[in-house]
Amino acid sequence: MHHANHYYGHSHVLARYCGLDDRDPPRIHGYLQHGWNIGDGMAPDHEFVPGVPLFLWSERTRRRAWSLGRRQTYVVGAPWAYLLAMEPDGPQRREGTIWYPFHGWEGQRVVGDHGRLIDEIRSVEAGPVTVCLYWQEYRSTRVRQHYERAGFRVVCHGYRGGRWRDLDPGFLHRQLAELRGHRRVASNRLCSAIYYGILAGCEPAVYGDPMQLAGEAPVWGGQPRIRRQWAQLHGPRIDRDVARELAVTELGADRLLPPVELRRLLRWPEPGADAAGPANGAARDGAAFEQATPPVAAGERPGMGVAR
């Protein structure tokens, strides 16, 4: 329905969870939240059509969206939480820190001192550091080399997808693999990646110059509000239990729907209802998951298990 539903392969993850063909996810009849934010869950430039439902990550976001005049708001949980529910954590070795410098999105430019940020990272992180850049910054040789010269490994999870073009179903899978390879996740702003990392078992940290977008106007209170409201998630060392509780809440990992309910909400077909229905392995995975899934207590599922 909206091209942002397919960002980061979100619709692909949900299709697989629902036992449907994740190579070509069905149309989601509504707007799916695609990133953590402190407003109504949608992107600031999102155009709304009255009557189209909003599928939001968390109950707090739903309450906030309602207070901002949104109706037909439903909590489904973040696609990331569904991915973790389907991908059990293995006994792999975790090492070092994966660091997400604040980035702009398409058409935006970040103003900040990467050199000073590198110094701050070095002063805090004891182990090896992987810096994950957004695809825009990753394509900038200057920015990439800045971090490489500091001795950091530089990666990019991929392109989040355009307007129904160049979709990348593997985005979240690559991010999950990277996060599970690291002991810590850090950024200079509290963002989706930090919550993802916490849920994937990393110890979180938020510190350093938060940088600015060129011409950035604080929306819904901006960084001062984030630092005040989520103060417990800021600093180089954060209580892991508190962090996990907050991540479960913000990602709606305690609110995941069983596949049958999710299909109903997204107005997706039942598996096998279509003659050209799912025949791949992913779809079978989803169907198998369907039989085992409880509707709640996602944190206790095998896939949500966290190495502490």
Binding site: R63, R64, W66, L68, R225, Q229
Partner: protein, 525 residues
């Protein structure tokens, strides 16, 4: 905003939310009537929830803390009280309140439903109540507003859409919320509170214009006065609008919308049947936390506030004026300005009773006395006749024609139209009152809010009148046809007789007579 009065951000504040502007919900609790109950506040005072700033203005400013959840509201209040160093404005969720010394007075006239922030915990009524009690020092006072979920305003309301503030509104499905006044009072007693006063709030819990104490409501002699007090047309206002309001938005009136029935009529019935307290849209309770921390066994331990701080037995807002009622030491009740509160019934009740008895002389005497006296313009439902025969108007006089029309309209709405001859009832009442027959002239708007019930009564009456009019029309047509037929028959006979020799001879004779008569009358030249 003055740098000396910054907003204290407690956490969980709502960044772009306002309860005070009335754009996202029903607006703040408000009204000069409630201000009269705030006179008992003293010492270190806490106000939680959305209260109109003019209510806050009446509180002692030496040590006043105000908690709201929306940041714009907090900033507007901080600007308003920038020159009062004793006023602290806090913003955030109620669960963040627990630090600091206890309060002497806690005010929550809006109730506990609009304290939670979307960012924080969704406290139930019981959790929020316990929190407020916990910040009240022993001996301190709590002034609590509670909406009645089966109050008249809800019983008569049409389905309403949800507002932006209903993101998780539990309402009557909150099991921790005491259901009904009796359980509410038990709950307060169980929390160690002694109740010093209970007022029923009409016509809405958020903008009451009548606050009636339980003792006053229990006085059966005051039926007429209480009915008149609730026959309120005007919405609650707070007085003159601030020329430069600190807070934007229309917050004063709570619109009285057409509902299932005229709320005044049902309020009058509730008074007549002694059920006004149970059917009040809301209650305000004044309670004191027991100094010894103890809880009170169920049975409503009460507390009498000290002399001089006794709250009014009733507060009425009439024509923008606040009138307080206090017990009279000699028995009965008195207004604060010294006038006695009249006992007895309203003229309307007396007219209805006499009509139902078919006692036309009594009806005639009442209507004549009313319309020939100085209270002719006072609506009959707001005019009390005491047992000694004195008449007390409890509203400003309007045009007598409007008062007559209002009475007629209320009699029709009450289903009593068939006690009277058909036709315009107001004109019939005017004739019964001794006036000259004729069409009534003057403003006919009685200013009433009418609901579906009244529409149904109107529809049934009009349908009946239409059926009767059609039957009458059929009868006229049938009669007319019969007479036409008769006329035709007679004309045929006349025509037949016209050509007979007898008729011709008769006509000649008549012609001769006419000629002779004219000749005789002609004057002689």
């Amino acid at each position: 905003m003055s740098p000396g009065t910054p907003v204290r951000l407690l956490g969980d504040e709502m960044h772009a939310w306002s309860d005070l502007d009335g754009a996202h919900g029903p607006g703040p609790v408000r009204g000069t009537g409630l201000a009269a109950l705030l006179t008992g506040a003293y010492g270190r005072t806490l106000v939680v929830g959305p209260h109109h700033p003019e209510l806050l203005d009446t509180l002692p400013p030496a040590d006043l803390t105000v908690l709201v959840r929306g940041l714009p509201d907090a900033e507007a209040l901080a600007a308003r009280y920038a020159d009062r160093p004793g006023v602290r404005v806090c913003c955030g969720g109620p669960e963040r309140l627990t630090t600091g010394p206890a309060y002497d007075t806690v005010v929550a006239l809006d109730g506990l439903a609009r304290l939670n922030s979307v960012e924080g915990a969704e406290l139930t009524w019981g959790e929020a109540f316990e929190l407020l009690v916990s910040v009240l020092r022993p001996g301190g006072r709590l002034l609590l507003g509670v909406e009645n979920h089966i109050g008249l305003h809800r019983l008569l309301a049409l389905p309403a859409g949800s507002t932006d503030s209903d993101w998780a509104a539990l309402g009557e499905y909150d099991d921790t919320r005491p259901a009904g006044l009796a359980r509410l009072r038990d709950r307060l007693a169980a929390a160690g509170l002694r109740i010093g006063g209970t007022w029923a709030a009409f016509p809405s819990p958020r903008a009451p214009v009548a606050l009636l104490g339980t003792e006053l409501l229990a006085d059966a002699d005051l039926t007429g006065f209480l009915q008149a007090a609730l026959a309120v047309v005007e919405p609650a206002r707070l007085g003159p609008v601030d020329p430069e309001p600190v807070l934007p938005g229309p917050v004063d009136p709570e619109p009285v919308l057409p509902g299932l029935a005229d709320p005044e009529r049902l309020a009058g019935a509730a008074i007549r049947n002694g059920a006004a307290l149970e059917l009040a849209p809301g209650w305000v309770l004044l309670a004191e936390r027991r100094p010894d921390h103890g809880t009170v066994p169920v049975g409503h331990d009460t507390w009498a506030p000290a002399a001089g701080a006794t709250p009014a037995a009733a507060v009425l807002v009439q024509e923008g004026r606040v009138r307080q009622v206090h017990p009279d030491q000699a028995g009965g009740w008195r207004f604060a300005d010294g006038g006695a509160v009249p006992s007895g019934r309203t003229v309307e009740d007396l007219v209805v009773a006499a009509s139902l008895r078919r006692d036309l002389p009594a009806v005639r005497a009442l209507l004549t006395a009313w319309q020939s006296g100085v209270e002719a313009g006072v609506p009959a439902d707001r005019l009390v006749v005491t047992p000694t025969g004195d008449w007390h108007g409890l509203a400003a006089a309007t045009e007598p024609v409007a008062a007559l029309r209002r009475l007629a309209s209320r009699l029709v709405d009450a289903g009593l139209a068939d006690l009277w001859p058909a036709g315009e009832l107001a004109a019939t009442l005017a004739v019964t009152a001794g006036q000259r027959p004729g069409p009534l002239v003057g403003d006919g708007d009685d200013g009433r809010v009418r609901g579906w019930r009244e529409l149904t009564v109107d529809r049934d009456r009009l349908a009946r009148e239409l059926t009767e009019a059609r039957a009458l029309q059929r009868w006229y047509e049938r009669t007319l046809t019969e007479r036409d037929d008769e006329l035709k028959r007679l004309r045929r006979i006349v025509s037949l007789l016209h050509g007979t020799p007898t008729a011709r001879a008769g006509r000649l004779l008549l012609a001769a007579v006419r000629t002779a008569r004219s000749a005789v009358r002609r004057p002689t030249p």
